[in-house]
């Protein structure tokens, strides 16, 4: 029986697991760690270093350490938010063909999928060493609001790593699967996924083995990194005040402050105040100084209040999209490291009037769900009971899974994931309007076709511009790409009928096809996606 890997490919950390006969087994690194930093280093001494070892180069060679690649994968480098995110990194990113971001490190130029593929390859190698068998298949998780291009690029990363990505599933959905699979309960839950780089909220209905996402939304550029950066800015200001110089132009120093900020943030999750010193600060006069700080939890909460407000605002929007009152939700899952912040949990409790569920391990539950889905897709899980979320925290001792070889004890049960389309998909029509084809939050896989016609007489060429976004005006939405139909029969305007069909597959990737209704001649055309990797980098 082929073993398939479940991978949570995160912005800051990644985690991988397999569903084995003894439950979910996590892939361990060289120091038996379950969490692997999504960091790839290309040290001056040569070679490629991934994971915890790569992190060590942050202070010595900040320009050669690639982190947060997930923020740029499948993105258009000219997008304003991408430009903003670029200000927060210390390695060099340049514009490549098709407006895709390209990492330039030392003498190498690499696409973002290539960077991510190093992380995936590392996890694959660790898993193969641990299980003593080759692994070909994997399920990789992505943020629920990942776009088409980002999903395609993530699949590409898997391919480059030598993995056959059997499915991309959304992170909140994976968490819900790990939580609810085998519990056989009917309930409505909210998954609040506040990770290192992204933020997602999903509302799911669990109906036995069916997991239906009712609504999902998020903010792609909001995560623990932003909180660290906000705190690092405060430390930088403190540095200017006390040590009389501005550390911000100094990459190494800012990295040190970011690391300090992260440590302070984590400390304040368990303590009311953080006091201490950041050592080893190189002063302009050549000496080495230290910066002392003292921060209370209240001060920190005030600092990050704006970010938390944003997450709560999105949560309320998602409830409204699902057309549900907060009181209908019977459990709130906290996923992602940033949900450890007490203020986040408290604000969630205020929205839902109940304490969020903190018994699951926020760092591991997504990989666990991915592993269950991977096992299910490869056919190795035939029946399941009681794969409770608590297993993610406790031991891997008891086995809720029965393997393909054995006789199923209960009726054949495999989870059915009904995920959703992350954003409204539309095409441009006359007058610059966006004609909606597929709704946000519609279940996937989904297919819909509409018939359109020509606007001019004897028009033989039609361009179909596709976009994503909620605006009625095409120009205000994010363009996805263009489909061109040529050599159409010349007819008076309005006579030619063109059927455009949109299909979003179970990975959340859009496929567009168009055909001339009367002749029935199908003009399959490939959507040209802006920002997607093109394979060659000049």
């Amino acid at each position: 029986m082929a073993i398939a890997l479940g991978i949570d490919l995160g912005t800051t950390n990644s985690c991988a697991a397999v569903a084995t006969p003894t439950g979910v087994e996590f892939v361990l690194g060289s120091r038996a760690e379950r969490i692997h930093p999504s960091v790839v280093a290309f040290p001056a001494s040569g070679g490629v270093v991934v994971g915890a070892d790569a992190k060590r180069y942050r202070l010595t060679e900040p320009g050669n350490v690639i982190h947060s690649a997930k923020r740029f994968i499948g993105q258009n480098i000219r997008a304003p938010l991408v430009q903003l995110a670029l200000t927060g990194i210390r390695y060099k990113v340049v514009e490549g063909p098709n407006q895709q971001p390209i990492v330039a490190v030392r003498d190498r130029r690499m696409t973002m999928p290539e960077i991510s593929s190093h992380v995936l390859q590392y996890l694959k190698r660790c898993a193969e060493r641990q299980l003593g068998t080759a692994i070909a298949d994997a399920v990789v998780t992505v943020p629920a609001n990942f776009t088409d291009a980002q999903r395609t690029a993530t699949k590409e990363a898997g391919r480059l790593a030598g993995l056959n990505v059997t499915r991309l599933i959304n992170e909140p959905t994976a968490a819900a699967l790990a939580y609810g699979f085998g519990r056989n309960k009917d309930q409505l839950i909210t998954v609040f996924d506040f990770g290192g780089g992204t933020f997602d909220v999903s509302i799911l209905k669990i109906d036995g083995e069916v997991f239906e996402v009712l609504a999902s939304d998020g903010d792609f550029f909001l995560g623990g990194d932003d909180l660290d950066r906000a705190l690092a800015e405060v430390l930088a200001a403190e540095c200017t005040r006390v040590l009389h110089f501005d550390p911000r132009p100094n990459a190494v120093l800012m990295m040190k402050l970011m690391m300090g900020a992260e440590a302070i943030k984590c400390h304040l999750s368990d303590n009311d105040a953080a006091e201490g010193e950041i050592d080893g600060i190189d002063l302009p006069n050549g000496q080495v100084g230290s910066l002392s700080f003292s921060l209370t939890r209240l001060q920190f909460e005030e600092l990050i209040n704006g970010y938390i407000n944003r997450t709560i605002e999105v949560t309320r929007q998602v409830l409204a999209q699902a057309n549900l009152p907060a009181s209908a939700i019977s459990d709130i899952l906290c996923v992602g490291g940033s949900t450890r912040i007490p203020a986040v949990r408290q604000r969630l409790a205020e929205v839902f009037l109940r304490q969020p569920n903190v018994s699951i391990n926020p760092d591991e539950v997504v990989a666990q769900g991915a592993a269950i889905q991977a096992g299910s897709l490869s056919g190795s899980i035939t029946a399941g009971t009681g794969m409770g979320a608590r297993d993610a925290v406790l031991t891997d001792a008891h086995s809720p899974l029965i393997y393909g070889g054995g006789k199923p004890q209960t009726a054949l049960v495999r989870p059915v994931l009904l995920d959703v389309n992350p954003s409204t998909l539309a095409i441009q029509t006359t007058g610059g309007f966006a004609e909606k084809l597929l709704d946000k939050n519609a279940p996937i896989p989904i297919e819909r076709s509409r018939v359109f016609t020509t606007a001019r007489d004897n028009q033989t060429r039609v361009e179909i511009d596709c976009c994503r976004g909620e605006s009625r005006r095409y120009a205000e939405n994010e363009p996805l790409g263009k489909l061109v139909l040529e050599e159409l029969p010349a007819k008076p305007r309005g006579d030619l009928k063109i059927e455009v069909s949109f299909r979003v597959d179970a990975d959340g990737i859009l496929h567009v096809a168009a055909s001339d209704v009367d002749s029935g001649q199908k003009q399959e055309a490939v959507l040209h996606v802006i920002g997607a990797p093109t394979g060659d980098i000049a």
Binding site: L377, V416, P445
Partner: protein, 173 residues
């Protein structure tokens, strides 16, 4: 391989009738509410979701099933949109698809002394809610209770009261 034949026959039937109105594809009444549409869709998903047939079908057969399933997904979305539009015209507490919240065990009955169970600021809203209840204005009472909970989110007393009023409102015609 009964399941395999069943799903292929089903897919063929759906693919041949793609132009039918959404509710007929989903096999629900024309003005079906959210719960009915959802139950019908889940039933189909349990039987025909393409993921369940990845290993048993050829690529061409799987494409047939996927296409049929994707058509049904679109029909479900249409039915759901319609049900949601209908539900919006009714008051929210009577909207279909909202299961009754479970009453927490050991919740205080609404008549128990409220002074000790909440902060003084919340008590102001609670008194207003009581006045609304006397007038028979359930929705007003719910609003005031929600305001009270907003002021004092830790009070289980207030939450129990809100749940009680909400269930009253559901029973009312």
């Amino acid at each position: 391989m009964n399941a395999r034949l069943d799903v292929l026959m089903w897919a063929q039937r759906i693919n041949g009738n793609k132009k039918l109105p959404p509710h007929q594809l989903l096999a629900v009444p024309a003005n079906a509410d959210m719960e009915t549409a959802q139950a019908a869709f889940h039933k189909i998903a349990r039987m025909a979701h393409p993921d369940l047939h990845r290993n048993g079908l050829t690529a061409a057969e799987l494409e047939l099933v996927t296409s049929a399933y994707a058509t049904i997904a679109n029909a479900y979305q249409s039915c759901r949109n319609q049900a949601m539009a209908t539900a919006r015209m009714k008051p929210i507490d009577k909207a279909p698809g909202v299961p009754a919240p479970a009453t927490p065990s050991g919740a205080a009955p609404i008549q128990a002394g409220p002074q000790s169970a909440m902060s003084s600021r919340a008590l102001v809203y609670y008194r207003k809610a009581e006045l609304c209840l006397k007038r028979g204005d359930l929705r007003g009472a719910m609003l005031q209770l929600k305001m009270a909970i907003g002021t004092d989110p830790s009070s289980t007393f207030l939450r129990a009261a809100l749940i009680e009023v909400e269930s009253e409102a559901r029973k009312a015609p």
